[in-house]
Amino acid sequence: MRKYWRAYQISIQETLQRRSSLLMDRVGGLAVMLSLYYFWKTLLSGRPSFLGYSYSQMLTYIFGMNILRSFALTGRGWELVGEISSGKISSYLVRPLNYHGYALSLDLSKKTIHLFAALIEVGALLMLFHPPFYLPQSALSGLAFLAALVLASLLFFFLEFLVSSLAFWTSESGGPLFFFELCVQFAAGAFFPLDVLPRLIQKGLSFSPFPYLVFLPINIYLGRVGEGQMLRDLLMAGLWTAVFAAISLVVWRKGLASYSAEGG
């Protein structure tokens, strides 16, 4: 366990050293948050609510979205693709560590930094614009939100790991990863609440793991999910995570079996 903790610490230092990359990521997130904040603010001006979201709930959704994008939807997919394609992964495979555990440590370090940055950004906007901010109405909602956040983060980790593992079989896995990342952002509700979409699309998405990444955690926080439904949602999120963890492990093993590298 200690070696993973060390990997986590070193990765934090590395991420903080590459400040321009971090700044770029944050500017992107901030631009999205500001745009959508103003968009919904304008849309809700003169309306008490929209699709059951009150003014404060909708603006809190936007702020929550920035936090969820930074924590749950931040990953190392492109790094993993690069490591497999370039053969760099060989150096990890001969080390006495489990690659999934190692990748999870690095993933968590990236998420930690982005979470702090997102909290600072949201805090700054709250101080600057004084928008109404919705707080959870019960301790249960708050706790369930934290559980949903952890599950969302793990689910995205395994989903991204699965898609990135394509790099074992093709040097063109960047395209599918790009497509996956864009689809996830929309289907997870990381740009707008999924309630906005037509019922048929909502129904289709409810059979996929994507709403458990952003949309459901925020809806739990906003108290828009009843206690029974909340428990069912958390169980489903856990189930999806377990399913994709198993699939990604199987695919990883198959990938390693077909992997070969030359040179050093």
Binding site: S20, S21, L23, M24, V27, G28, A31, V32, L34, S35, Y38, F39, T42, L43, F50, L51, T170, S171, E172, S173, G174, G175, P176, L177, F178, F179, E181, L182, C183, F186, F191, F192, V196, L197, P198, I201
Partner: protein, 261 residues
Amino acid sequence: MKKYLRVWWKMSSMSLMAQISHPLGSVGFLLGKIVRIAFFFAFIIAIFGHIKNLAGYSLSETALFFLTFNIVDISAQILFRGIYSARRAVSEGDFDFYLIQPCSALFRLSMTTFDFLDAITLLPVLVMTGQILERFSSPGFFVHCLLYFFLTFNAVLIASSFHILVAGLAVRTQELENTIWIYRDIMFMGRFPSDVYGPLFQLFLTFVLPIAVMTSFPVRAFLGLLSPQWIAYAFTLAGLLFGLSLWFWKTSVRQYTSSSS
């Protein structure tokens, strides 16, 4: 001119062959680009299922703002895709070879990669824009269309200026590879009409980071909502920015001492 067309043709054919030789990757990127536009479009249409207007604009008008943003954004990417790898070209020494070739180094750097995937993505956007423009047949339609066309071209010129400035920075510093992505990220704000943003923020998007001039002005001019003074401002700004970016590029190249070979 003929020489440049020949260089462009050669570079473009090589880019096309490279993209065809990676079908899975190319299809993934193309689908990603199309999905991004389709989802936002679906979002706008879905929103208008519940409201009549957004900041005073109808569905067609809001869609036109979104499509104009895409025209400007994608056109700049088609023209300047090579700038995205400018830092690598400088640090790996490729830029030294561009300098000794008998054509503009900026042109050579920009045209290193011609992204056919962007060109394919642009086609449906142009078709949809044409269909929406057709719906607004009113007196002065032709003049408004011309204004829309020239102001969109003007917006591409501003976007080009930003790309040239970034290329100049890459030549000067060999470090600022992320600058272009910061520009792309900030451009996200151009997806919606600038009227959505508060008055203070609108001023910022008009005078400091002229995203409003690039994505909202063409549509507002088409709808007859832009005064001649603002139209003059847009053209003057583009001219000044383009001049400044070329000057910056030239001085950057003049100070360049080669960082690799």
